[in-house]
Structures are given as C-alpha cells and as structure tokens.
C-alpha cells in the first residue's frame, strides 16, 4: 500500500488513548505485509517483528521503532437533560472544539455535534475568550430518555474528519499525530524488505502516548531493544511563528538532538541522510521531548534513543497538515539506517553482549 492510502485509512479510523483496538487492526495489516511475527501486549501495543539475517559470530541485536497510534479525543462525564458533558483525553485544542462533528461510541455509533451558546447572547467579555470546557456539550439529537438508553458515563467520543488532499503534496486530516509515524514505519519495513539487515526490527505502534507515554514505557521494557527510534510530529512552519521554533513542512525528516537523544544515534542518522541524499532538518530539543523517545530512553538500564519528527502544522486539531514526501523520506531514512547497523556501531554505543552483565 502507498503511504498516502495507508495514512488516509489510519487517520479516518477512531482510536483515542486507551481505546486503540480498531486502529491496531489496520496497523497489523499495514506492518504484516513486510514482517514475520505480530504480538499485541497487555497494554495493547501493536508489535510487528522483522527478523534480521545475522552472521552466527555476532550477537543478536534489535532496534525498536515507535510511533503512537492513539489520538486525542473526548470522554462522556455526565448526561444532562439530553446533552452530553465531556472531558478531554490528551490535550485537545479547546479553541477548535466548538462546531466539530463527532461520533459518540455508545451502544451504537451516534453522529453528534459540539455546541455552545450562540455569540448573539454572550457578553462582550465571553465572546472574546475561548469557550471553556464546561460551556460545551455534545448533542446527538436524542431526547433525555432515548439518550440514557444509548449512552453512559465513560463512553468514548471521537472527532469526525475526512482525510483531504490539498494542492501540491500536502494532505490534511485528524490524528496524523501520530498515525503519520505508523505510515513512516510501514514505509520503512517496505523498503527494508528489499535490503539486507542484520538487526531484528521491532515495529511498534504504541498506545496511550497522549496520556503519559505509557505504551512506549511498557513495550520498551517488554521488548528490551538495544536501541530505539521514536517517530512523532514536530511543529511546522506557518505565518507569525519564528523559523527557530518550527521545522519546514516538506523539508524532510527533522532529526532531534539534545538530552533525550543519544549523540551517536543522531550523528549516524545525519550521516545516513547525507550519504543517501535525503533532505533533512535539524531540530534542537533542549529538554523533555514529550514523545515516546522520552520513555524509551530510560526503560530498564537505559536505551540509546533517537527522535525523528514529521513536520506538521496545526497540531492537536482536526486539520493537521503534512507533506506526503516527508513520510516517504523518513521511511527511506529508517530503512537505510537499519540496514547499516552492525556490531561496530553496537561497540561504539557500548551495548552489552546479550546474556552478559556489563
């Protein structure tokens, strides 16, 4: 499958943090065209394994690729006179919730909208401010009694938005954060299937990143990879924002560096991009990256970790926008990087020999 088609199907699937099951089925289909084994762990992480071909003289090594498949969304907190009160799961942009179409996952899927009071009746002060969460509600059109039959506290509400191809190479939709990374990993596996590689690849679509990096924390512990790369989205360029704070959409993978990223991993990614003439950008991250890389790095006794960001505009809205060619470039960069991994690099990183205490 081409990256664009995969991204479309992933983006239009519904799976907020903790409820990723339907996305996991698509991930499985996407990854398993090019991998041999598939595991779903306790937390629900989707793990595809592509084994490397190694010389028996060398130890078995592995790399974990992590992109999260959960999306931000809403959860019903209360039924009130035929309307639904809700809270957010992950940090939804409250500025854009009013007027959204949603799907309420009750006894059956119900289309709904997010409403609030009309501007005509608001005070001048209220008109100026962001509509607070407790002034918003979901309306599915049912009466109070009908609603109580269909929906209960704790039911999931997802945002509804079709994938749109903009002009040029750009596409727009919901949940590109971080299903676009899943598309990058699928592309990497596809390219890697035409290359030789000696290290095993754990392709992981993680869960619950938006609620505390939980899937990465537990899957990294469970898989015990030698090294890891997280793929997530980075803030793209747009008017009114300094170039220093953004990366260019369509400008290629943004390679993170800073305390969350192992310097030798960063250097090797740069070297790989240069050698294969893949456009890339550098992305300084001075502290917590807020990505799966942050959890992977400190799993068990520590894992040399890198972070690749997909340039993306309008993060945490339903119109996240990115360039398809950036996904293809990241897939290619990952495949080249993995295919280059050898025991010399393991020694440079100071990786222990499996089964031996360092």
């Amino acid at each position: 499958m081409q990256s664009k088609e995969l991204l479309k199907s992933l983006s239009e699937a519904n799976g907020i943090s903790g409820y990723e099951a339907s996305v996991r089925d698509l991930v499985r289909a996407g990854f398993m065209q090019y991998a041999e084994e598939f595991v779903t762990d306790t937390m629900g992480n989707a793990i595809a394994i592509k084994r490397g071909q190694r010389d028996a003289a060398y130890p078995q090594r592995s790399i974990m690729l992590a992109g999260h498949m959960d999306e931000i969304g809403l959860l019903v907190t209360k039924l009130e006179k035929g309307f639904l009160r809700f809270t957010t799961v992950g940090g939804f942009d409250l500025r854009v919730l009013l007027g959204q179409e949603v799907i309420v996952h009750g006894r059956q899927e119900l289309p709904g909208i997010i409403g609030s009071r009309a501007p005509h009746v608001l005070s001048a002060e209220d008109r100026e401010r962001i509509v607070p969460l407790d002034h918003l509600f979901v309306d599915v059109g049912l009466t109070e009694d009908e609603l109580a039959q269909q929906v209960q506290v704790g039911d999931v509400v997802t945002l509804r938005r079709q994938f749109t191809e903009l002009s040029g190479d750009l596409v727009s939709g919901k949940a590109f954060d971080d299903r676009a990374a899943v598309a990058c990993i699928a592309e990497a596996l596809k390219q890697l299937s035409k290359m030789k590689h000696s290290w095993d690849v754990y392709a992981v679509a993680t869960v619950q990143e938006e609620t505390g990096l939980k899937g990465a924390m537990t899957s990294a512990f469970g898989l015990t990879p030698d090294i890891g790369i997280a793929i997530d989205v980075g803030h793209g360029d747009m008017p009114g924002v300094s170039e220093a704070d953004t990366v260019k959409v369509g400008g290629g993978p943004a390679l993170g560096f800073g305390p969350n990223i192992h310097p030798l991993m960063y250097a090797r990614l740069v070297q790989t991009a240069k050698a294969d003439e893949i456009a890339y950008q550098i992305d300084p991250i001075p502290g917590a990256s807020g990505t799966d890389a942050w959890a992977m790095q400190v799993a068990r006794a520590g894992i040399p970790t890198a972070l690749i960001s997909i340039p993306l505009r309008y993060m945490h809205t339903t119109v996240e926008t990115l360039a398809i060619k950036d996904i293809e470039r990241i897939g290619r960069l990952l495949a080249r990087f993995i295919s280059s991994l050898d025991e010399t690099f393991a020694e440079e990183l100071g990786l222990s020999i499996p089964g031996q205490i360092p």
Binding site: S17, G18, Y19, D41, T42, M43, N45, L75, V76, T77, K78, L79, E80, R85, T87, V89, D134, Q152, V153, G154, Q208, T211, G212, K214, M217, T218, S219, F221, G222
Partner: protein, 334 residues
C-alpha cells in the same frame, strides 16, 4: 465491618510512617492468608494461594489499597516553642484552621494562625503553626521532622460514615473484609497494602514490580458531584461502588472495566461509572509496571476528601466487598 473501619481510620499513618497501620492490618489478616511479608518500602503484601478449578485459567491478581494518609511534618521550631510545619501529601490550608494534629506518641497539638492582613484572607500554611501547649522550649519534647496526622473520631451516622483518612483506610477495610470472607479463588491473589500513595504512588511502583501481577485492581476513594454547587460529576454517595473509566493519571484497561461492570451486573450489585477529572490512584503506577499490567479501579464515592471529615456511604462499601468476592470467585473473561 464498621468496627474494623473505625479501628483503621483512627490509626496513625502519614505517608512514610505507616507502621502502626501496617501492624494493625497484619494482626487482623495474618491467620487468614498463606503468606505475609513487608517489602523494603514498607508495603504489606499478603498472598492467598490459588485453589485450582477445572476449566478456569488461574491468574495472578493484585488488589491494592494504600495505608498512608495525608498529614504534616514539623519543619521549624521557634524560640517560644511554636512549631512551623509542611504538608505531607495534598493538604488544603483552608481545612487546617481549628484542626488538631496528633503525633506518633499520641500527644496532640492545635493549629493556630498569624494575624491576617485582612479578616477574610485565606490562610496559607507558611502563616500557620502548631501549638502543643509547651510553656517554653525547655518543656518541648517535639523536634524537627516529627510527622503528625489530623485527629478526629469516627462517627457512624447510620447509612453514612464520617472519619478522617477514609482515603484510603476504607480501601484497606474492603481488602481485609474480602480476606476474612475467605472466598475460594482459582486465582493467586495478592492483597497489597501500599505506602506513600499520597506523595506519588511510590509503594505501588515497587510492590507491583515485586509482585508481577497479570491483573490489578486498586481500591481507593473518588470525589462526588452530589453536594451543593459541586463540580459536575456523575458520582454520588449511595449509588454503589464506582467503576473507574478514567482519572487524571490513567485510563482503566477497557477489559478490566468491562469485567467489573459485568460482574456487578451478574451479582445484582448497584454500581456507577466514574470519570474523575483530578487525582489518580495506585492503579496508575501498577499499569505501567514492567511490560504493563491490565489495571482498573473500584472507587468509594467520598465527600470532603482530604479533610478531617470525609463522608462515605456504608452500602457502597458493602457493595465493593461483594464485587471483589465475585471477581475473585470466577474465571476472567480476558
């Protein structure tokens, strides 16, 4: 069971200093479990062996309730023997005025306040002090670092109970009652009475790592939306044990949540679903232990949480005990 609840809530045990609570619980359960141990952090871990049943897969289940309560610690003593203090856990300054605290040796102090700049000024902890009635420093036996908790008697007002430290001694009481009920379980059950929940779920982190459960349920309190002008929340006293969907720190594992709901339905136990917008429980830490644990929470609706006068409904407590007995007695659906 009310006697048990009274004993537990009136015991002393701020975070890090849970020994009196631990000793009490140990004495109550030691003859009813197969093994009891205390780990390095001070968690009390009791194990009941599985009784194999044909056709039922045996799992390792961890039930967790925290022994610690919020409190204060002496941070500085002035020349006139007044004690400045710092909070242990989430203490609301506005509930401190007029409160009494008790130290490990049972001695009591009262909380006083500097003259406010304005009569309606909210008190801040830095402008309060503890007065233990010492004439001067010579007669003071307290020292910097002494922990204290609030003191307030347990009150049984019929269907509802009032006490300090229902958070989370009520969870401890529910686990103990479940042990005493001696339900035959095909599962290996670890009853874990954790330490230091109020200061960052720290006992749960280490005990879950040590126990390595397949499935875990924390039993703790939750807030309610059933008092005048409360924050909107669909949880009320007396509507049954609350089954958590989400709180500030975690999403309950959907399969565990469904298991709790289906068991409550099967046994005809009233229940309510809970979405809590602040706070979290030991289940958050247990869920991400090692390679991940399927975790959920049974909550007891509690008004006035983190004050010395927390209020709960006794029927909710009994419902929670029945629910746990029902969970342990049958096979898991996942």
């Amino acid at each position: 069971m009310k006697k048990l609840i009274q004993q537990l809530t009136e015991e002393f045990g701020p975070s890090g200093y849970e020994a009196p609570v631990r000793d009490l619980i140990k004495s109550l359960i030691v003859r009813h479990v197969d093994e009891v141990r205390v780990d390095a952090m001070g968690n009390l871990i009791a194990r009941k062996k599985a009784v194999p049943q044909n056709g039922i897969a045996s799992r390792r289940i961890m039930l967790a309730a925290h022994m610690d309560e919020i409190g204060v610690m002496i941070s500085y003593i002035d020349d006139k023997a007044f004690l400045r203090f710092t909070p242990i856990g989430g203490v609301f300054p506005s509930t401190l005025l007029g409160s009494r605290v008790v130290f490990t040796d049972g001695s009591v102090g009262v909380i006083g306040r500097e003259k406010p700049d304005h009569p309606d000024e909210l008190p801040s902890i830095s402008k309060m002090f503890i007065d233990v009635g010492a004439k001067d420093r010579e007669h003071l036996t307290r020292k910097v670092g002494d922990p204290a908790t609030f003191t307030r008697p347990f009150v049984d007002i019929g269907e509802r109970l009032v006490a300090k430290a229902f958070d989370d001694r009520i969870g401890c009481a529910i686990l103990i009652q479940s042990i005493l009920n001696n339900t035959v379980s095909p599962h290996e059950v670890y009853y874990v009475f954790t330490v230091q929940e109020e200061v960052g779920l720290r006992g749960a982190v280490t005990s879950a790592y040590g126990v390595e459960p397949d499935v875990a349920i924390a039993v703790d309190i939750t807030l309610t939306g059933d008092t005048p002008e409360a924050q909107p929340m669909a949880v009320a006293l007396g509507a049954g044990p609350a089954i958590k969907v989400k709180d500030r720190g975690m999403l309950a594992h959907p399969a565990v949540k469904d298991w709790l709901v289906d068991t409550a339905k099967r046994l005809g136990i009233p229940y309510q679903l809970e979405v809590l917008e602040m706070g979290t429980t030991d289940a958050m830490a247990i869920q991400t232990s090692r390679a991940g644990v399927a975790a959920g929470v049974i909550s007891i609706a509690t008004r006035y949480a983190h004050t010395p006068s927390e209020m709960i409904d006794f029927a909710d407590v009994q419902g929670a005990v029945s629910l746990i007995d029902g969970l342990l007695g049958a096979g898991l659906p996942f």
